[in-house]
């Protein structure tokens, strides 16, 4: 309640000079970590009590131990997959953001291109990935393309909404000063789109990792997807799970990175302000 008062009734006190990059607080990781540990403990106890063999369900403690001992091979694999995912995400961003710019400006472009974008989005990439490998070989390019194809849609869809979600009065004000379309884009459309874009990237970063892994399954000689499919072929469930663990950590890391940037850049947005008021 005190917080609420101090942020709304500002008349009574001189304003401190907030540095904009100090304003977002990093997200608190302890509750999430605790939840993970509890789930892992239940898992460990359940597997031990039921005497389930490791080739069916491996023990969390064994998975963790294996992930640590296999780190010298898992880490380079993880870096390969990360590179593919980020490369795909970059391609997806360039294509989706420029398409969103055009489509939010011209309705005819939206009517022509959006159904196409939906059609590509609903095509199962697991089915397309083998084709891409046949066309493009075992190199990195099919991985980049699958990662991009899986991750572009949230960016496109949210960017379009974002570029249009502008305060109409702010728009009229800039127009009354004969601001150019580019100035309007730079000064109000892009910043207004940021909340939507951060939401999109929370989804798209994880999707790009999935895309890279799916493409690696189809044909690759390195990467986490390759490591996982190899462990599966050897019926080494602990090794498979260790690969999955590293993969999950990769996804979580990317998500957290987006979340941290979100709090830094959206200090002014309701989604961040509301958490400051009610805590």
């Amino acid at each position: 309640m005190n917080r609420l008062k101090s942020t709304t009734i500002a008349e009574s006190r001189p304003e401190p000079h907030p540095r904009r990059l100090d304003r977002g607080r990093p997200p608190d990781v302890w509750p999430a970590l605790l939840a993970f540990i509890i789930v892992a403990l239940f898992w460990e106890v359940a597997v031990r009590l039921s005497h389930t063999p490791a080739y069916l369900i491996p023990l969390p403690s064994a998975i963790l131990a294996r992930a640590v001992t296999d780190l010298p091979t898992l880490l380079p694999d993880a870096l390969v997959t990360l590179g593919e995912a980020l490369g795909g995400l970059f391609i997806a961003s360039v294509v989706a953001l420029s398409a969103a710019l055009v489509m939010s400006r011209y309705t005819w472009a939206e009517r022509a291109l959006f159904p196409l974008a939906v059609a590509v989005k609903v095509t199962p990439m697991v089915a397309v990935a083998p084709l891409l490998v046949i066309w493009l070989g075992f190199g990195p390019s099919p991985k980049l393309i699958v990662a991009a194809l899986l991750s572009y849609f949230p960016i496109l869809s949210n960017a379009m909404t974002g570029f249009r979600s502008v305060n109409p009065r702010a728009l009229e004000f800039l127009r009354s000063l004969d601001a150019s379309s580019f100035e309007i884009l730079r000064m109000i459309r892009v910043p207004h789109a940021l909340p939507y874009l951060f939401s999109a990237y929370k989804v798209s970063t994880t999707l790009s990792v999935i895309g890279a892994v799916v493409a690696e399954w189809v044909g690759a000689d390195r990467g986490l997807g390759h490591a996982i499919i190899l462990a599966n072929a050897n019926f080494d469930m602990t090794s498979l799970a260790a690969g999955v663990l590293v993969l999950a950590l990769l996804g979580i890391g990317l998500y957290l990175l987006v979340a941290v940037f979100e709090r830094q850049f959206l200090f002014w947005h309701e989604s961040v302000l509301s958490t400051e008021v009610y805590q």
């Binding site: 942020t7 709304t8 009734i9 500002a10 008349e11 001189p14 304003e15 000079h17 907030p18 904009r20 305060n167 009065r169 702010a170 009229e172 004000f173 800039l174 127009r175 009354s176 000063l177 004969d178 601001a179 150019s180 100035e183 000064m187 109000i188 910043p191 200090f267 002014w268 947005h269 302000l273």
Partner: protein, 274 residues
């Protein structure tokens, strides 16, 4: 901060050279119809308005009478169907290019990621070719609207009345020749609104700006204006133009004077008829 009385009003547009200075705002036979798939809605019908430089005109009328549409036509945000508008002798689009217009809306519409001073200077950031030399800086303007202490605050840290002051400063910082205000205090609570009325009176007097104010508050119109136009509609047409011959400088005591009450009841009567 104490400012010495300046020789010229601060934040006034410098006079254009030339012998015959045109009217600050000149609206002639302006009509506006909105076309729908199968219907036509006339929002404004044959409006004439003339505002001389440095004068304060209010347009009052009931909700939906077309007064906001009229203001947007004057500001060049809407094209009229018929008639012509000039601002300092220029059509509205040309006046926009020269940054001769300062707009204040009911919604302050500040950019929430910018500080107060950055929000005000948004007006200088766009269309920079048309920026005039500024005899006074942004901080002096912030002082004029009473916000210098909050120059680095963000909009979400300000009250509604303070946000509207920022919007006012943003509309003045580029030295426009006219100020167009669309129910600027309509979203404020009654007490703040009454206070802001006199703040605007003080700022308008200090800057000597030509102002066209759309409002539905009779008190606001009488206190601030040299002339009050009563708009009836739709379609919006001028029902009556009332000159407010109250002496200046005016202050809060004006609302208790018999002349004020006479103007208020006169306007109330005209509004009822419409």
């Amino acid at each position: 901060m104490l400012i010495q009385p300046p020789s010229t009003p601060p934040f006034a547009a410098t006079d254009l050279p030339g012998s015959a200075t045109p009217r600050a705002i000149d609206v002639r036979h302006v009509s506006k119809s909105f076309h729908d798939a199968n219907s036509v809605f006339e929002a404004v019908h044959d409006v004439n308005l003339q505002v001389d430089r440095g004068r304060f005109m209010s347009v009052i009328g009931l909700s939906g009478c077309g007064k906001s549409t009229l203001l947007r036509i004057v500001g060049g945000l809407i094209e009229p169907t018929e008639g012509s508008i000039t601002i300092d002798g220029l059509p509205p689009k040309a006046a926009q290019k020269q940054k001769s217009i300062g707009f204040v809306f009911q919604d302050a519409a500040l950019l929430p990621w910018l500080t107060v001073v950055e929000n005000v200077e948004v007006s200088l950031q766009v269309n920079q070719r048309a920026n005039r030399p500024r005899p006074r800086g942004t901080d002096e303007l912030l002082d004029l609207v009473g916000l210098l202490r909050f120059r680095n605050a963000f909009p979400h840290q300000l009250s509604g009345g303070m946000q509207q002051r920022v919007a006012l400063a943003r509309a003045l910082v580029h030295y426009p020749s006219i100020l167009l205000m669309d129910e600027p205090f309509g979203a404020l609570d009654e007490l703040t609104r009454a206070f802001m009325r006199y703040e605007l009176l003080r700022i308008a007097t200090r800057t000597g700006k030509t102002v066209l104010l759309v409002t539905h508050s009779i008190a606001e119109a009488v206190v601030l204006s040299d002339e009050v136009v009563v708009l009836a509609g739709p379609p919006g047409h001028v029902r009556e133009v009332v000159s407010i011959d109250l002496p200046r400088p005016r202050d809060e005591s004006i609302e208790r004077s018999p002349e004020f009450l006479a103007y208020a009841s006169l306007l109330r009567g005209v509004l009822k008829l419409s």
